[in-house]
C-alpha cells in the first residue's frame, strides 16, 4: 500500500484563517455600491383572504425605494410542486406567507415601512393537523393545483409507496411481531448565520445573485425557469456564494425571499439585500419535516427480521419544498437498515396551514431511523433477545443487495456494533432498570453521491502555474464542513504538491463546471474522485514537460559547475530513466524517476520544470490545466422507487448510557459512543468535528429541540425558547472511526456529513427504556414526557 503524505493526516484548517481573524466575508458583511435593503411583510393569519392592501403610507416614508405586493409582480408559481407565488395576491395559507416587500436605503427604514403597510384580511378556517386535514370535510388549503384544476383533497399527489418481497408471507413467517406509533416534530436547522442574499442586475438585465446556496446550479436552473415565466427569457444568471454561516439543509431550495430580492432589484435597478433576523429565521425558514409513523415488524424464532410494514403521514404545511421529498430518503433506512426481505412503506404528505418544510442534515433519515430503531428495540424485547445482539443478527453485510436494490459494497456495521458493545460496557450495564441504562441504534446513509437528479456529476478544474502553485475551481460549495482543507489534501496527494500550495474557489456558477449540489454527504466523495481524475491529467502534462526539461536542467547544472570548477567531469547518466512520462512521478513538489526516486540529478523541484516549460516563446508556451467531471455509475430510482442511487453507503452505530432522574424526568447522557464506517478518514480531526457536531444536533433532536407551532403560529422563535444545546450541555462523545477502505471512494473515503445525527435520538430513547422501563415514542423526549410515562408506568403496576 502506498503511504500517503497528506491523506489521513490532521492537516489544520490554515486555509480558512480568515474565519479566525474576522476577515471572512459572509452575506451579512457583503455590500454592493448603491445597495438597498429589502424587508418582507408576512401574513397575520394562518389562512385568510386578502381583502385590501394599502401601501401608500409605506411608499411615502423617506428612504423607501420600492414597495411590492402580489399585484405588482407577475402571478407566477414557484416551488417543487408550483403551489405558491412569490408574493401572495388573494389568499394567505400560513403565517409566513409573504404579502408585501419593501426596498429602502437602510434596514431600519425598510422595517418601518413594512409596519406601515395596511392589510385587511378575512379569516378563513384553517387546518393544523395532517390527520384532520385528510378528512373529507376538512377545509382545503389549496382550491386548485398548479394548472388551475380544482383540488378535492389536502393529500399531495406524490408517489411514496414502496413494496418489496411479500409482507404477508413475512407476517406468516414471523414468530414475533410488534407495532409502534412513532412521532417526530419540527426542528430548526439553527444556522448561526441567518438566511440572506443580494440580487443585482447589470445594465443588460443579467443577474448576479450573491447567495448562500449549496446547490448553485440548481439555483440557476430554478431562477432561469422563473425568468422564462416572467418575460426575462435569455437573461443570464450567475450565482456566487459568500462565506456561508452554516447550511444543514436550509440552502437546498431556492427560497421565496430570494425571488423577492430579485423582484425588488428588478424594480429599483439597484442591488438589494435581504437578510433575515433570528426571529424570521425561526418563523419563515422551512424546518425539518415532521412525520408520524406506524411501524410493524416481525422476526422468526432465531431473531431474523421477516418483514417491515410502515405507513407515514407527513404534515406538509401550506406549500411544498423539499420536505415533501424526504420519504425518498426515509425509504433507504426503511428498506435497507438491517437485512429485511419483505418491506412495505407508504408515506402520505398532507397540506395544512402550518409552516412548510425543507431539508435538514440527514434529510428524512433521522425521522425514519427513529421509527425503525424504536421498533427494533420493542421487537428484540418481544423475541427475548438482547437488543444489541438482535441488531448484530440482522446487520447489513458487504455484498448485500437490499430490497431497494442498494448495492452494499464496503460495510463496517459489524465493527461499529462491536465498538458500541465493548466501549460502552454493554453486557455489564444493560438491563439493570435502576435509573441508568444503555441503548443503541444504527444507521445507513448514502455516502457515494445520491442520484436524485439525472446527473449526479461533479466538476472540478485544476491549473498549475510556473511556481508550482495550484488553483482549484470547485463546483461544490463550502458551508463550513472543511472541504477547503480536505480537498487541498487530496489534490496535493494526487498531484504531488503540498496542501499549502493549493488555493480553492467554491460556489461560483460563472467559473465552475457543474455539480448536483453539496448535499447528501457527497462533497468529499465526489470532489475527491473528480480531483483524482483531474490531477491525473494535470500530472501527465507536467511529466511530459519534465521529460523535455530535466535533461536540460541537469546539463545546465553541470555547465554551471564546470564554470566554477574546470576540473569537474560530468557523470555519465542513464537518461533512459527519464525518457518517458510513465517513468516519472511527482511527490511533495519533487519530480523524480520511479526507478530511482532519490536520484542525485534527476530528482528536481516541480517549479524548475514548470518555469522552464510554461512561458517560453512564440508558439511554444503552454499551460498546465485539467478538468474532470465525475458522474458515478449509479441509478435513478425506478418507478418502483428502487435503484442503487449511491456508489457506496455509510454505516454506523451509536450507543449511549443515560441516567434518568425519576423525580424530574430529566435525562443525562453519561456516555456516548459514536462508531462510524467512513471508508477512510482523509483528515481525522476534521472528521471528528463532523461526528461531534452531528451527534450534538442529534441530542438536541432527541431531548430538547422543537419548534412549537400552535394553530400555525411558531410560538418559540428565539434561541432562549427553542433550547438548542449550549457548551454547558456536556455530551461526552467518544467517536470511533472504522475504516474499511471503500474501493470506489477517493483514497477509500465515504461521506460522513450527515450520518452522526441519524442514530442519536433513537439510541437515547432506547437507553431511557433500559434505565427506567418507559418507552417514549415521540420527539423530543422532554422531562415532561418522561414524567408522564413514569406516572403511567407506576399506575399500571
Amino acid at each position: 500500500m502506498t503511504e500517503y503524505l497528506f491523506v489521513g493526516k490532521s492537516v489544520p484548517r490554515t486555509i480558512e484563517a480568515d474565519k479566525v481573524t474576522g476577515r471572512a466575508v459572509y452575506i451579512d458583511d457583503l455590500k454592493r455600491p448603491g445597495m438597498l435593503y429589502g424587508k418582507i411583510c408576512y401574513s397575520r393569519y394562518a389562512h385568510a383572504r386578502i381583502k385590501r392592501i394599502d401601501t401608500s403610507r409605506a411608499e411615502k416614508l423617506p428612504g423607501v425605494r420600492a414597495v411590492l405586493t402580489g399585484r405588482d409582480v407577475p402571478d407566477v408559481r414557484v416551488g417543487f410542486l408550483k403551489d405558491q407565488t412569490v408574493l401572495k395576491r388573494d389568499v394567505v395559507r400560513q403565517f409566513r406567507d409573504e404579502v408585501a416587500a419593501v426596498a429602502a436605503i437602510s434596514p431600519e427604514i425598510a422595517a418601518e415601512a413594512c409596519d406601515l403597510i395596511e392589510v385587511e384580511y378575512e379569516e378563513l378556517p384553517g387546518v393544523f393537523d395532517p390527520f384532520e386535514a385528510m378528512k373529507a370535510d376538512a377545509p382545503l388549503v389549496h382550491e386548485v393545483d398548479a394548472r388551475g384544476r380544482p383540488l378535492k383533497s389536502n393529500i399531495l399527489p406524490l408517489p411514496w409507496k414502496f413494496s418489496a418481497g411479500d409482507v404477508e408471507q413475512g407476517r406468516k413467517a414471523a414468530a414475533f411481531t410488534v407495532k409502534d406509533t412513532v412521532r417526530t416534530t419540527w426542528v430548526n436547522q439553527c444556522c448561526m448565520g441567518t438566511s440572506g442574499c443580494i440580487a443585482e442586475f447589470d445594465v443588460n438585465g443579467n443577474l448576479t445573485l450573491y447567495s448562500q446556496t449549496n446547490v448553485i446550479f440548481g439555483h440557476v436552473g430554478r431562477i432561469t425557469e422563473y425568468f422564462n415565466a416572467i418575460g426575462l427569457k435569455g437573461k443570464k444568471i450567475r450565482v456566487v456564494n459568500a462565506t456561508v454561516g452554516g447550511s444543514f439543509g436550509t440552502k437546498l431550495d431556492t427560497d421565496i425571499y430570494e425571488f423577492i430580492a430579485i423582484q425588488l432589484a428588478l424594480k429599483t435597478r439597484k442591488p438589494v439585500k435581504i437578510l433575515f433576523d433570528r426571529e424570521e429565521e425561526f418563523r419563515a425558514l422551512p424546518p425539518r419535516q415532521p412525520a408520524v409513523f406506524d411501524i410493524e415488524q416481525g422476526c422468526d424464532a432465531e431473531g431474523r427480521l421477516t418483514f417491515r410494514h410502515v405507513t407515514a403521514v407527513l404534515d406538509n404545511g401550506a406549500y411544498t419544498s423539499w420536505g415533501a421529498t424526504t420519504p425518498s430518503v426515509m425509504m433507504m433506512p426503511m428498506s435497507s437498515l438491517y437485512r429485511v426481505p419483505n418491506v412495505f412503506f407508504q408515506a402520505t404528505c398532507v397540506y395544512t396551514n402550518n409552516i412548510y418544510c425543507q431539508a435538514m442534515r440527514g434529510y428524512g433519515n433521522p425521522q425514519a431511523t427513529f421509527a425503525v430503531e424504536t421498533s427494533m428495540d420493542t421487537l428484540a424485547e418481544a423475541a427475548g433477545i438482547d437488543p444489541l445482539e438482535f441488531r448484530r443478527i440482522n446487520r447489513n453485510r458487504p455484498g448485500d443487495l437490499t430490497p431497494m436494490r442498494l448495492k452494499i459494497t464496503s460495510c463496517g456495521l459489524e465493527e461499529c456494533i462491536q465498538s458500541v458493545e465493548e466501549r460502552l460496557g454493554w453486557k455489564e450495564k444493560r438491563g439493570k432498570r435502576n435509573g441508568r441504562g444503555v441503548g443503541m441504534a444504527s444507521l445507513i446513509h448514502v455516502a457515494g453521491g445520491a442520484r436524485v437528479t439525472r446527473s449526479d456529476g461533479h466538476g472540478i478544474m485544476i491549473k498549475v502555474n510556473e511556481f508550482g502553485q495550484v488553483d482549484v475551481i470547485e463546483s461544490g460549495t463550502d458551508q463550513g464542513q472543511g472541504s477547503p482543507t480536505v480537498i487541498s489534501q487530496m489534490v496535493a496527494e494526487a498531484l504531488g504538491v503540498r496542501p499549502e500550495d493549493v488555493s480553492l474557489t467554491f460556489g461560483d456558477t460563472g467559473l465552475a463546471l457543474w455539480d448536483a449540489g453539496t448535499h447528501a454527504s457527497r462533497h468529499t466523495f465526489m470532489a475527491g474522485n473528480a480531483a483524482i481524475r483531474a490531477c491525473r491529467k494535470a500530472k501527465q502534462q507536467i511529466l511530459e514537460m519534465a521529460v523535455e526539461q530535466i535533461p536540460g536542467i541537469v546539463k545546465g547544472g553541470f555547465k554551471r559547475k564546470k564554470r566554477k570548477d574546470p576540473e569537474f567531469v560530468p557523470p555519465d547518466l542513464d537518461y533512459g530513466l527519464i525518457s518517458d512520462p510513465d517513468k516519472l512521478d511527482i511527490r511533495d513538489r519533487m519530480v523524480f524517476p520511479k526507478e530511482a526516486p532519490d536520484h542525485p540529478y534527476f530528482r528536481v523541484p516541480i517549479h524548475f520544470v514548470l518555469r522552464g516549460a510554461l512561458h517560453v516563446g512564440t508558439g511554444q508556451s503552454k499551460v498546465v490545466a485539467a478538468e474532470a467531471f465525475y458522474d458515478p455509475p449509479t441509478e435513478m430510482l425506478d418507478r418502483e422507487l428502487k435503484g442503487n442511487l449511491s456508489q457506496t453507503y455509510a454505516f454506523g452505530a451509536t450507543g449511549v448510557e443515560v441516567a434518568v432522574d425519576e423525580k424530574t424526568g430529566e435525562v443525562t447522557i453519561l456516555r456516548m459512543v459514536a462508531a462510524h464506517d467512513v471508508g477512510k478518514a482523509i483528515n481525522p480531526t476534521l472528521l471528528l468535528g463532523q461526528i461531534y457536531g452531528a451527534a450534538y444536533t442529534g441530542v438536541g433532536y432527541g431531548l430538547t429541540e422543537e419548534i412549537k407551532v400552535k394553530n400555525g403560529r411558531v410560538m418559540n422563535p428565539t434561541f432562549r425558547d427553542y433550547q438548542m444545546l449550549t457548551a454547558m450541555d456536556v455530551v461526552p462523545v467518544e467517536a470511533v472511526i472504522v475504516e474499511p477502505d471503500d474501493a470506489d471512494g477517493p483514497f477509500g473515503a465515504k461521506g460522513v456529513g450527515e450520518p452522526g445525527l441519524v442514530p442519536t435520538a433513537p439510541a437515547i430513547a432506547n437507553a431511557i427504556y433500559d434505565a427506567v422501563g418507559v418507552r417514549i415514542r415521540e420527539l423530543p423526549i422532554t422531562p415532561e414526557k418522561v414524567l408522564a410515562a413514569l406516572r403511567d408506568r407506576d399506575r399500571a403496576s
Partner: protein, 160 residues
Amino acid sequence: MKKVSVSFTLNGDAVTAEVPVTWNLLKTLRDYFELTGAKEGCGVGECGACTVLVDGEAVNSCLYPVFEVEGKSVTTIEGLAGEDGALHPVQQAFLENNGVQCGFCTSGMIMSAKALLDHTPSPSEEEIREGIAGNFCRCTGYVQIVEAIDMAAKKIKQAG
C-alpha cells in the same frame, strides 16, 4: 436622528464615532468602523456571535449602547492578531483543532475564550464551558472548541 459623539480606544487606536444615539456597539463596529468580524446572530444577546471585549470583559455588543463605551477600551477579533499578523494562540488553536467550521460564531467564541484566559490562565474544562456558555455554535458540538481553548491555555503558559 440625533447623533452622539463617542470617543474610545478601538483595538489600540484612539477613535471617535459620530453615530445615531440609538445605535449599539455592534452596529457601530460593523457599519461605522467596517469591522465586520463581530456578527449579529440574534440581535437580542442570546447567541454571543457579537462578543467583543470592553475593558477586558466579554460583552454582547448587540446589547451594548454605543454611548456607554465612552472612554473605554474595545477589542474586537480584528485586534487580536499581533501587529506582524501572527495569530493569537487561541486563533491558532481553533485552526489546528477544528474549533472553527462555518465560522459564524468563531469571532465571538474566540473573544469569549480570550477574556476567559486573561482572567483564568489555567481553566478547567468546566470553567472553559462556562466561559463560552453564552456563545452558541451549531457546527462543532463545542467539543473541539473546548479542546482548542485548553490547548491555547497551555501554549500561552508555556510561552510564559
